[in-house]
């Protein structure tokens, strides 16, 4: 009768000792992991992001980026250890950036729904930069991500916001130095072209046909100032007249989708029309639908041969935008002869 309690007691002590040892081992292990991720990031700072004010490392060393943050942080030479897929930016990447993009581990697909939380955890990041617009951010399991590392959500609300957003992303990742170099390069080029085309673009009423029209619904995308297809051209003095008839959120604040029937009335006052083309110069299906119609051929600007293809309309970093500027210089060159 007395042996049993003793056995139990011993057994209980043994279990406690084992649990304590295991807990210690786990603590050491976790601490070790934490140390690996934060060994050079002891100092922290408060950072204001779309998801609130977040305490992040002063000098992050292992950054995971998704969405729009991917091309920005690759260009800015941020210490990336994992990225989401970002196919739309691939045609605009330099060879060097493309190599970096291809070599980095994928931790998410093209959409927020394809976030692979385990893959992110495996990279042991000390900062996660989510570069998606606010409505999309809600699709992500933030709590799960925050259990891995500090999370900052920094995404554009409207297309032209990529400038501020990308700087903030680079700031969070501690990569402002290289970022600001790219920014200066872009601004310098934009200023140069602004002077070059000042006379040609002065007072010219422009309209833009975007690449996201819905052929299946018989409509086209018209983009106004500050949209994806226009914001870089805006920086060299191009002005896209008019505004959306009913403002929506995000890109719907600066672009709309009228029926193809409305093409003549929508663009009858346009003195020149730009339209989105793919990086290889081919027409996206939505743009081809417009350009193949007799309504297009009947527009005053088309009859005057005042139409201009625009490449790289999805530019969302200063590096990509500089490439877009060079393409714009090429496409607007005939304006100087008119």
């Amino acid at each position: 009768m007395t042996t049993k309690p003793m056995t139990l007691l011993r057994s209980s002590r043994l279990v406690k000792a084992s649990v304590a040892a295991a807990a210690f081992a786990l603590t050491v292990s976790v601490a070790g992991c934490g140390a690996a991720g934060q060994e050079t990031s002891g100092e922290t700072r408060q950072f204001k992001a779309d998801n609130g004010t977040v305490e992040i490392p002063q000098n992050p060393q292992r950054v995971v980026a998704t969405g729009y943050a991917v091309p920005t942080l690759i260009e800015a030479d941020a210490p990336l250890v994992g990225i989401s897929s970002w196919q739309r930016g691939e045609p605009m990447m330099s060879d060097e950036d493309m190599k970096t993009y291809q070599d980095l581990p994928r931790v998410a697909g093209e959409t927020a729904a394809e976030t692979n939380y385990e893959a992110i955890a495996e990279q042991n990041p000390d900062l996660i930069v989510i570069g998606v617009p606010k409505p999309i951010f809600q699709e992500i399991d933030t709590e799960r991500l925050e259990s891995i590392a500090p999370v900052v959500a920094i995404g554009p609300d409207v297309p032209s916001a990529w400038k501020e957003v990308s700087r903030k992303q680079a700031d969070a990742a501690g990569a402002l130095e290289r970022f600001d170099e790219g920014k200066r390069e872009y601004e310098q080029k934009a200023e140069e072209l602004k002077g070059k085309y000042a006379d040609a673009l002065d007072g010219l009423k422009l309209a833009h046909i975007g690449g996201y029209g819905e052929v299946e619904n018989g409509n086209f995308q018209r983009e106004f100032d500050g949209s994806w297809g226009t914001n870089v051209a805006n920086d060299i003095g191009a002005e896209y007249y008019g505004q959306v008839s009913e403002k929506g959120e995000g890109s719907r604040a600066v672009s709309e989708y009228p029926s193809l029937e409305q093409l003549p009335s929508a663009l009858k006052d346009a003195e020149a029309i730009t339209y989105t083309v793919n990086a290889d110069g081919s027409l996206p299906e939505a743009v081809k639908y417009v350009l193949d119609s007799n309504l297009w051929k009947n527009l005053p600007a088309v009859k005057k041969d005042m139409t201009f293809p625009v490449k790289y309309t999805e530019a969302a970093t200063y590096g990509q935008a500089t490439t877009a500027l060079e393409a714009l210089d090429e496409t607007f060159a005939p304006l100087l002869k008119k």
């Binding site: 093209e110 052929v215 299946e216 029926s259 409305q262 003549p264």
Partner: protein, 345 residues
Amino acid sequence: MSTAPTQAGSAPPTRNAPSRIGRSAVLAGGLVALLAAIVASIAVGAESVPLGQIWPALTDFDPLSGDHLVVRDIRVPRTLLGIAVGAALAVAGALIQTLSRNPLAEPGILGVTHGAGFALTLGAALGLAGTALGELGLGVAGAVLATVLVYAVGRHSTLRLLLAGVALSAVLQGVSLGVRLTSPDTLDKYRFWSVGSLAGREQTDLTIPLVAIALALVGALLVARSLNAVALGETVAHTLGANVARVRTVTLVLITVLAGAATAVAGPILFVGLIVPHLLRRLTVGSVPWLVTLSMIVGPILMLAADTISRVVLHTGEVPVAIVTAFLGGPMLIWVVRRYGAGSL
């Protein structure tokens, strides 16, 4: 009330069937309504075209006039497409309901819709669906292959045929969904096709599917008399000397062509094939040829009315016509059931 035919393929008028004069009046009324629907389809759209410009656009076309271009290049082709798709789906619905003697049967029950959807999903995943013509080809191929498979499994009885169609549709739908969920690009390409619409087709060469629909409609008129006998049941049909196997095969081919071509050019549009035969049931008692004829008129009326509504119902843009047909079709079906009782079903 006698509904037994006096000879194979023809049924005598019943007490409830309209007289010859009554039928002529119904036909004339239907044609007037169809004309009104055509006029509305050509006159109404996102862009306001003055009514005075409609007739000149058709008879004295000015290629420099934006109004004339809207009418000739967009609305007329779209109206013709609406007529063809409406007639095809309605007649396909009348044929499948008569053949299967199942009032809830609709053209897609043989796997046509999901076959086309599966082919388009697969094509998008493999990068084969880049153009409108390519999508058309994929849709037709998927519809035909699905029907051939269903027919191979269930050709011995109508019930097996329907069950095979339902089963294959479920499988194809599931596989398609799986492909789309694992491939965002495919989902993106497919999402617009997944809701039927008549918009944006005016630049695609639709000669082949439209000719196929026209020929199949003629075929439906020709087979309708024989189908009268089959509609009474196989035993009775055999007794009356009808070649049931041949009639069934020809009818299935016609249903496949009609529904497959309509689905390929416009995407999946439900309810038209289901509701039109029900709307006409009381007017066409005991006469499949009459049912097929009126379906060719009322199907386009419903489709054009729905398409016209789809252009103006929202001030922010068009709604796919399949959504409007679903909104119209649901209440109409309920009305038919309440008006004529479950017997009509």
